[in-house]
C-alpha cells in the first residue's frame, strides 16, 4: 500500500517521539510503533485510511503497549502496575496536534544528544531514533560493526533509564549549552559524511544529507542563530560536493574547483540563512564559519574572493574560540591576501609551539606554500610528512601527484 509507505516515511519519527513521552521508555515506544504500523497494514486496506493517521497510530501504539505490558504481567507483577498507570494517564485529545508533536520531536532530539551520554552514543542514538536509520546503516556509515553500534545504543538507553535522563526540552537558562551539544552531534555526523576520516571514498553523501535534514528540522523547531549558522555552513560546504573530486576521484582544492558545478540552490538557501544568523547580532562559531563559506560561495574565483574579510572573520572566530586549526585556516587566507611568505611564518610558528605536529593539513598547507616559494626540497619533505599522516586514499594520491610534479 503506497499511502502507508508515504505515511511511514513522513510520520514514523513523529509518532515515535510522542510514544516515547506517553510510554516513558524507548524500547517500549519502538515496539509500540511497529505494532501500530503492523495494525495499519492489516486494517487500512480494509477500512480505509483514518482521517488523522498520526493520531490513529499514536493511540493504537499506546493501546498495544499497554496490552503488551498486561500480558507480560503474568510473569512480572510490576508491569501490571505500570500498565494500569499508563492506562489511567489517558492522553488529552490535543496531544497529537502539530505543536504538541513538534515539542515531542525536540524532546527526542535533546534526550538523544544529552551530554551525560557518551559522544559516540549520542550520535548513534540520534541517527537511530531521530533519523530512523537502522543499526546496520549506522555501522556502515561509521565503518564499524553492527554489534558495536547496537551495544552503544543499548548502553545509552540503559543510562537514560537508570540515571533518569528526563524527556524534556531544556529550560531557557540551559538551552544554549544544551543546544551546543545537539549541534555538535549534527556537525559530527556531517563531518563524518563530508570528509570521511578513513577509507577510499572521499564523501559519504548519505551522512551529510542526514545531517542537513537534521539541521533543517532543528532550525524549523528552534530557529536559534547558531542552528541557522550550522545549517548554512553545511549547505554551503555541501554545495561544492561535485566540484571537490575530479573524474578519477582525486581531490580538487577550492581554488582549482569548477565553480559552475557548485549547487546554486543550496548556496541560495545557505546565504539566506547566514544573513538571518548574522542579523541576530549573537554571533557564534557556526555562524562565523558559515559567513566565511558564504564569501567563498559568492566569489567568481579564488582571486576575486574577499580575502580581507575572510581574515577578519577568522580573527573574530579565534577570539571566540581559540584553536590551532582555526589559526591554520586563517594562515591559508593570509597566503591568499598577503602571499605565501607571510603565511609560512604563521604556520611555522604554530608547529614550533608543538601544536598540530601530527595534523596532516598543517603539513600539506606548509608544503603548498614552500612549493609556491620555489623551495622544492623542503616542499617534498613536507608533502612526505602529510602523506604519512593521511588516512584517505584520494588525499594521498593528490599529495603524491604534487611530489611527482616537483620531482619532474
Amino acid at each position: 500500500m503506497e499511502v502507508l509507505d508515504a505515511i511511514y516515511r513522513a510520520e514514523s519519527r513523529r509518532v515515535l517521539a510522542t510514544l516515547v513521552r506517553l510510554l516513558g521508555d524507548f524500547d517500549l515506544a519502538e515496539e509500540a510503533l511497529h505494532d501500530a504500523f503492523a495494525a495499519a497494514v492489516e486494517r487500512w486496506p480494509r477500512n480505509g485510511v483514518p482521517a488523522n493517521p498520526r493520531a490513529w497510530l499514536v493511540s493504537t501504539g499506546r493501546f498495544k503497549a499497554i496490552d503488551q505490558l498486561r500480558r507480560r504481567a503474568t510473569f512480572d507483577a510490576s508491569l501490571g502496575a505500570l500498565a494500569q498507570q499508563l492506562d489511567e494517564a489517558a492522553p488529552p485529545a490535543d496531544d497529537v496536534s502539530d505543536d504538541g508533536v513538534e515539542d515531542d520531536r525536540l524532546r527526542l532530539i535533546f534526550t538523544c544528544c544529552h551530554p551525560a551520554l557518551a559522544p559516540d552514543a549520542q550520535v548513534a542514538l540520534t541517527l537511530r531514533e531521530v533519523c530512523g536509520l537502522t543499526t546496520e546503516e549506522i555501522a556502515h556509515a561509521f565503518l564499524t560493526t553492527a554489534p558495536t553500534v547496537a551495544q552503544r545504543i543499548v548502553r545509552a538507553k540503559g543510562k537514560i533509564r537508570e540515571a533518569r535522563i528526563p524527556y524534556e526540552v531544556p529550560s531557557r537558562s540551559d538551552l544554549s549549552d544544551r543546544l551546543d551539544a545537539v549541534l555538535r552531534v549534527v556537525y559530527l555526523v556531517f563531518n563524518e559524511g563530508y570528509s570521511a576520516s578513513a577509507g577510499g571514498e572521499l564523501t559519504r553523501r548519505d551522512l551529510s544529507a542526514e545531517a542537513i535534514r537534521l539541521g533543517r528540522l532543528i532550525v524549523e523547531l528552534l530557529p536559534e542563530p547558531e542552528a541557522q549558522g550550522l545549517l548554512a555552513m553545511m549547505l554551503l560546504h555541501d554545495s561544492r560536493r561535485s566540484a571537490r573530486t575530479g573524474p578519477d576521484g582525486e581531490l580538487v582544492l577550492l581554488d582549482q574547483q569548477d565553480r559552475s558545478l557548485w549547487n546554486r540552490a543550496q548556496i541560495a538557501e545557505g546565504l539566506a540563512l547566514v544573513e538571518q544568523a548574522l542579523m541576530s547580532r549573537r554571533l557564534g562559531p557556526y555562524a562565523l564559519q558559515a559567513a566565511i563559506a558564504a564569501l567563498h560561495a559568492e566569489a567568481r574565483d579564488a582571486v576575486a574572493t574577499d580575502w580581507n574579510q575572510i581574515v577578519g572573520l577568522y580573527d573574530v572566530l579565534l577570539r571566540l574560540e581559540p584553536s590551532a586549526v582555526v589559526e591554520l585556516n586563517r594562515a591559508a587566507a593570509i597566503a591568499m591576501r598577503d602571499g605565501p611568505e607571510a603565511a609560512l611564518h604563521l604556520i611555522d610558528a604554530i608547529l614550533d609551539r608543538g601544536d598540530l605536529t601530527d595534523y596532516q593539513f598543517a603539513h600539506s598547507a606548509r608544503a603548498e606554500l614552500l612549493r609556491r616559494l620555489g623551495r622544492s626540497g623542503e616542499a617534498i619533505a613536507a608533502y612526505g610528512r602529510a602523506i604519512t599522516l593521511s588516512a584517505q586514499e584520494p588525499e594521498r594520491r593528490f599529495l603524491e601527484g604534487r611530489v611527482s610534479g616537483l620531482l619532474a
Partner: protein, 122 residues
Amino acid sequence: MKYLCLIYSDESQWPKQPTSDADTMMAEYGAFTEGIKKSGQYIGGNRLQPTATASTVRIRNGKLSTTDGPFAETKEQLGGYYLIEAKDLNAAIQVAAKIPGARAGSIEVRPIAEVPAAVGVA
C-alpha cells in the same frame, strides 16, 4: 530519585591554600548546604578524610582483597559528597553544578540504586 554528588579535587593543593581562601570556601559550602536544605533536596553530606586514609575493597573470584588508596588513580581525589533528592538527572546536575568544588574539581553524580519495591497488582 536520590543522587550521590561526589566532590573531586586535588587534595595536595589544600595545605597550600591561604587561610582566607579556605575560610571563603567554607562559607560558600555553608551557604550551599543551607540552600539545598531549604529547597528540600538535602539528604546528607560530609567532608571526607584525605585519601591517605582510604581503602578500596574488592571481591575477586570470591576472595576479599583490600588495597590502600581510593578507587581511581587520577590527580583528583574524592573529598566529600552530598546525598540529594532530585526529580531527574537534569535537576541533579543543576544542584551538582552549584557545589563550590565543581569549579576547581569535578563532581561525580551517581544515581542511587533503589531496591525494587514489591509491586502488588491491585
